[in-house]
């Protein structure tokens, strides 16, 4: 599971898509706060120096400048690590969204796998923050392919968007379905339980699903690359079938995808959801991150294959109680 520098990850998918978009949209501008290489903007800077706005280590001003560019009719992509953008400059972003400005926010280095930089660089709250803002669309690509496709699709929206990226590059998911904003991907069909995953946790869930199937369970695996708005129909259909769900995200457990999905289930209980559902929610629970290798961090915080397998057993026990 350790990082391999030859693999293209979701940062590369963004960096390549933004170059393609800039070739066709002269109004596209990119703002970054001294992290252009890390955020894979090197090529964009080289090809479009007049449309790259260097903001230095000044994220609050960066968001304000982006707002001004949007007021003047540009479509700004505002790029930095998520702990700085949108977390440090949330007030400026809030004003921009209140003003219906078409800002494209990109937060890098989310989750635990951010090298050994420690908690100051591990955004674990950004989805909760972003999804609480009215009108925003939030995407969490799992890999290079999703990131490339979703970047392009987010650009076509006239409303504010958030793209959540990771430092760690994992091999792309093997899947031939089209990647469409707002539509989930059913990566495996099953009937005993459903695993919902976004971002890098998708690959972990793929591995866990294989192992669970090997011991005789039938697991439905759904990738939710678009966290807001959620693909409610697929979620509900699957849960009506399996009656048990596990949600996994590289984020604080009690918010983000977990709580958004829980709301869908609670709202539809007795309506479109026809039975009681057993649930387990996975994430980083009531604690900040820390330095360490990716494998060690995922293991300690219960975000590896083994942890999913344990949760699968737990959720199936719950399901049994509900149905007994």
């Amino acid at each position: 599971m350790s990082s391999d520098s030859t693999i293209k990850g979701n940062r590369e998918g963004f960096g390549e898509a933004i170059v393609e978009l800039a070739k066709i949209d002269p109004n596209l501008v990119v703002l970054c706060g001294d992290l252009s290489d890390s955020m894979k903007l090197t090529e964009f800077k080289k090809l479009f120096p007049d449309r790259y706005v260097e903001c230095g280590v000044s994220e609050q001003n960066m968001m304000g400048v982006a707002s001004g560019l949007a007021l003047a009719g540009k479509t700004p992509w505002v790029v930095s690590y998520a702990v700085f953008n949108p977390e440090r400059n949330l007030d400026q972003l809030r004003t921009a969204i209140y003003s219906q400005l078409n800002l494209k926010i990109v937060g890098g280095h989310t989750g635990l796998a951010t090298g050994r930089y420690g908690s100051t660089h591990q955004a674990l709250e950004d989805l909760a923050i972003m999804c609480s803002l009215p009108t925003i669309t939030a995407a969490v690509p799992a890999d290079y392919k999703q990131s490339f496709a979703l970047t392009k699709q987010l650009h076509t929206l006239k409303t504010p968007t958030y793209l959540r990226l990771s430092r760690l590059a994992r091999p792309s998911i093997v899947d031939s379905q089209p990647i469409i904003l707002g539509q989930s991907l059913v990566l495996n069909k099953g009937k005993d339980l459903t695993i919902f995953a976004c971002g890098l946790m998708t690959q972990t869930a793929v591995e866990a699903t294989k192992e669970l199937e090997e011991i005789g369970l039938s697991v439905e695996l759904i990738n939710l690359h678009t966290v807001k708005p959620l693909d409610q129909r697929t979620i509900i259909e699957s849960l009506n079938k399996t009656g048990a769900g596990i949600v996994i995200q590289e984020h604080q457990t009690f918010s983000g995808l977990n709580s958004l999905l829980a709301q869908v289930v609670a709202n539809e209980a007795g309506q479109k959801i026809t039975k009681s559902i057993a649930f387990e929610f996975m994430g980083v629970t009531e604690i900040f991150g820390e330095s360490g290798s990716e494998d060690d961090l995922y293991h300690k915080h219960g975000l590896d294959k083994l942890a999913i397998i344990k949760k699968a057993k737990l959720v199936l026990e719950k399901k049994k109680k509900i149905n007994s």
Partner: protein, 286 residues
């Protein structure tokens, strides 16, 4: 500036201050002191041909931009926009009422047809208008346009760190189409700035950031016109005008008293204030 123009601007400014009082009293909210201290600057910008605009075409692509960063002083901007012909003066009475286009702090919604004509930005959280102005200035340069971008800030607002990020950005990117005005009335909500959080030598600080810094009397129309024209006509450097003002300017018992930052006048205070302004409107006094 000929005396009759001076007198004409004085008349408008007196009307604007009466509008501000009326909005404040009708809604039971608003910030009189700061609104009064920026009134003469706004009147000069809009009524002595400093700003390029057309009230019939608020989105005219050749207009100069005016951004209010210290959003709590919006009653002054609303009144000046109405008196410039952007919308009916009667609409001022809806200020801060449910459903009004005149929000308690300015709200601009991009692309919406429900916006208040003439308004360019949302403000209220201090320190942001300057960055928004920098973004517009950058876009104008990028498109090879000569529109200029004016931004009004307050002196208390200079306590926000974002302002200093923006100053660095503006000068590094050489945005000489930017003209900032700082309303220096020396007070903020809790009292005198020098007691709450002093700014030290603002002029020296701004010069060291790379600005051309001009000083003006915020209540002397001739001086304001001279400094604003100088800033507008002499590009090559971004400019900031330090406009030395009196909080609550125009009504004797409101002047230079931080109590009036957001205090609402009683019925008697209101009549007294209106009376003073009506006398000034007819006189030749600034």
């Amino acid at each position: 500036m000929p005396a009759n123009i001076n007198q004409q601007l004085n008349k408008i400014a007196c009307k604007v201050r009466q509008d501000i009082l009326r909005m404040t009293v009708l809604s039971g909210s608003g910030h009189i002191a700061g609104s009064f201290s920026i009134t003469d600057v706004l009147v000069t910008l809009y009524f002595s041909k400093i700003l390029r605009f057309d009230p019939k075409r608020p989105n005219w692509d050749k207009r100069d931009y005016f951004l209010l960063s210290n959003g709590h002083t919006c009653p002054a901007l609303y009144a000046v926009l109405a008196r410039s012909g952007f919308f009916d003066v009667a609409e001022l009475d809806t200020y801060a009422q449910l459903g009004s286009r005149l929000q308690g702090h300015p709200h601009f919604a991009f692309g919406s047809k429900d916006n208040l004509p003439g308004l360019e930005n949302t403000s209220g959280s201090l320190g942001q208008g300057i960055s928004q102005a920098a973004g517009i200035a950058w876009a104008m340069k990028m498109d090879g346009k000569n529109n200029q971008v004016f931004c009004m800030m307050s002196d208390g607002e200079q306590q926000e760190g974002q302002v200093w990020e923006a100053y660095t950005f503006i000068n590094y990117h050489h945005l000489d189409n930017f003209i900032g005005i700082i309303d220096c009335n020396n007070i903020q909500i809790s009292g005198p700035i020098k007691k709450v959080m002093p700014l030290r030598d603002l002029k020296l600080k701004l010069m060291s950031f790379g600005f051309r810094v001009l000083e003006a009397d915020a209540h002397d129309f001739a001086d304001l016109e001279k400094k604003l024209t100088h800033a507008k006509e002499n590009k090559s450097q971004a400019t900031i005008i330090l406009a030395s003002s009196l909080a609550g300017k125009g009504v004797s018992f409101m002047e230079n008293d931080s109590k009036w930052h957001s205090h609402i006048p009683s019925e008697n205070e209101y009549s007294q204030a209106i009376k003073e302004l009506q006398i000034k409107e007819k006189s030749d006094v600034k």
